[in-house]
Structure formats: C-alpha cells, structure tokens
C-alpha cells in the first residue's frame, strides 16, 4: 500500500457555516432580524434581554432561544417578557452551533416573527467561530469584570457589532471606570456601538431597543435575497 496525498482544502466548520447560511436565507425571506448575544457567564444576558424583549414586543413579535449546559431557568426568565422563549440544553458544550438553533426554532412560523434573540452559552472564547445565521452579534461586558475585558478577549470582540456594558447600577460600588472601559472597547473594536445598560434600573434599555428597531427597519428596507441556499 503506497500513501497518496489528497488535496482537500475544506473549512473545518463548513457544516456549521452551511447550516448558518441556509438559516440566514430563511430569516431573510421571512424578514426575521436575528441577534446573537454573547458574554461571559453571569454577565447579565438574560436580565438585559428580558427588559429589551419587553420593550420591543410592544409593537413587534419577538422570540428567543437560550443555550445553557443545563436547566431551563433562563428560558423561563426570558418568558417573563411575555415573549415565547425556548431552552437549548447543550450538555457539556461551551457554545451554540447552527444546527442546535435550527432544531430549536422548528415549528415556529418565521413569517410571523420580527426579532429572534439567540442567547449564547456564557463564554468569551468558544462562540466566536460559530456563525448562527445572525444579523448582529451583541457582546455584553458587565462592570463587575473590570475595564480591560475588551482587551483581554480580542478575538470575540473583533466579531461583534455592538457592545452593551451591563450592570451599570453597580459601577460606583465596584469602582468601574466607564471612560477607560469605553476607550478599551474603541481600541479593540473601533467604531463599535456601545450602550451603558442596567437590567435592574432599566438604564440604556430604551437606547438599545431603539438601536435594534433601526436595524430591524433597515433590514426590512433591503431587497430580500431569495436565492435558495
């Protein structure tokens, strides 16, 4: 038996990319705006999302899927917004993959949905390379984790379209320096939109919701790319 060399030249995440591309096409046709929310564990994704979903659902149909290793707690909390939310249990997996989202949204009529939030598993490293068919990747940095988080996790922030600094109500208590945090964010991802938010007081929720409304409207104004995946 003699060895032979095969040229493969295939992206290792090809399968994930293909599923994500197919979902993006479906979302495009149905006019669903999709936000992938990433952060470290405990950054306050669920709390902030619940507020934002409550606000957006006043005149839009909003749904969410949320990934965790175990428990259905977060889906239950998101449902407090009055919107439908489904849990994805990842077992031991540290991030969501496109096929998990595809499975989770089965049975939903996409035509009736305006915004889909995908709350990723809390992790600042692994979700980076996994496209979920989203239009926007929103990154949360809580004030409790310090001002230098954007500099410490450059690979993920480099793929994000908006940043929400969360738990602003604790900023004084933990000695958080907002200007330094904003400067670090700008250094890591120049030009990225930054929101100062608190799920507890509701600060910044209207601004973030208004930003998302604009994005939803902008997507609707775009011609639909109805090309089959």
């Amino acid at each position: 038996m003699k060895p032979r060399i095969l040229e493969v030249r295939t992206k290792i995440l090809k399968k994930n990319d293909e599923i994500a591309r197919a979902m993006r096409a479906r979302f495009g046709v149905s006019g669903v705006y999709v936000v992938n929310v990433v952060s470290s564990p405990g950054a306050g994704k669920t709390g902030l999302l619940t507020r934002v979903m409550t606000e957006l659902s006043r005149d839009m149909t909003v749904v969410a899927v949320v990934g965790d290793l175990a428990t259905e707690h977060d889906a239950a909390r998101l449902a407090e917004s009055g919107c439908e939310a489904r849990q994805i249990s990842t077992g031991t997996l540290c991030h969501l993959e496109a096929d998990m989202v595809e499975k989770a949204i089965e049975g939903w009529s996409l035509d009736g949905i305006d915004v889909l939030f995908i709350e990723n598993v809390g992790n600042l490293v692994c979700p980076q390379g996994f496209d979920l068919g989203e239009d926007l990747r929103l990154l949360l940095f809580p004030v409790t984790e310090g001002e230098d988080k954007p500099l410490k996790y450059p690979t993920l922030i480099n793929t994000c379209d908006a940043v929400a600094i969360s738990k602003m109500d604790l900023a004084v208590a933990v000695g958080f320096d907002l200007e330094t945090a904003k400067a670090n964010t700008e250094k890591a991802r120049p030009g990225v939109a930054v929101f100062e938010t608190s799920a507890r007081t509701g600060a910044g929720v209207d601004e973030l919701a208004a930003f998302l409304r604009e994005r939803v409207a902008a997507k609707r104004a775009e011609p639909v790319d109805a090309v089959a995946p």
């Binding site: 003699k2 060895p3 032979r4 290792i12 997996l93 692994c126 250094k187 890591a188 120049p190």
Partner: protein, 121 residues
C-alpha cells in the same frame, strides 16, 4: 473547550474525503489554524487522538500549521503580521483597529491516505 467539536468536524470531513477518493486508512491530516480562529492548537492536539478513535483517522498524524494574524491599516494601508491576537495598533502610523486580512483560517488542507486494500488486489 470547543476544540472537541472542531476535532469531530475535522474527522468527519477527512472521512468523507477519504471515502470519496476510495482510500483506506488515513495516515496524516495537514491543517491550517489561524491565530484568530479561536482554536487553541494544544487543545486541538489533545482532543484529536481521542476523537479519532474508531474512525478512518485513528492513529493518523495531525500536522498543524499555525497561521499568524495578518492585518492592514485602514488609514495608511500598511500590512503587517501581528504578534499575538491583538488589540492591534498600526506599527507605521499608530492608528488602532486595522482590518484583519488573515489568521482566521481553520482548514483541512491536505491529507495522506493509503490506497484502499480492495483496490490493490
């Protein structure tokens, strides 16, 4: 530790390619891993052997080419290979946040396979 998913995808692609080519055992995989791919090479090497067990890739060498991050300044278009993963400041004009033009690679480039035994008989 998403490297296990990466290893599983890699092996699936390699097995498909081997079957399609009518090959038998896989002897080696040559993979490009970019500095900005989010994959830790040591972690991938660590999980690969276990993930390959019971597949056509069992026992196959994993040869990894580490691809550095390459960036282009948005202001002065200066291009450079960067140490580490950022944040990036242009070495030439000092502007922050250049455009990433390389280093996100995560690709199975070539593989070494044995001809299928049946094909030799």
């Amino acid at each position: 530790m998403h490297e296990l998913s990466i290893a599983a995808s890699l092996i699936e692609i390699a097995e498909d390619a081997a079957r399609e080519a009518g090959a038998g055992r896989v002897r080696a995989l040559r993979v490009r891993v970019g500095a900005l791919s989010g994959v830790v090479i040591e972690a991938l090497e660590f999980v690969y052997a276990a993930a390959a067990e019971g597949t056509l890739c069992e026992g196959a060498r994993l040869e990894i080419e580490a691809v550095p991050a390459r960036v282009r300044c948005r202001v002065c278009t200066y291009e450079a290979v960067m140490e580490g993963v950022g944040p990036f400041i242009c070495e030439s004009c000092g502007a922050p946040g250049p455009e990433v033009v390389g280093g996100r690679d995560l690709e199975l480039v070539t593989m070494e396979v044995d001809e299928h035994e049946a094909a030799n008989s």
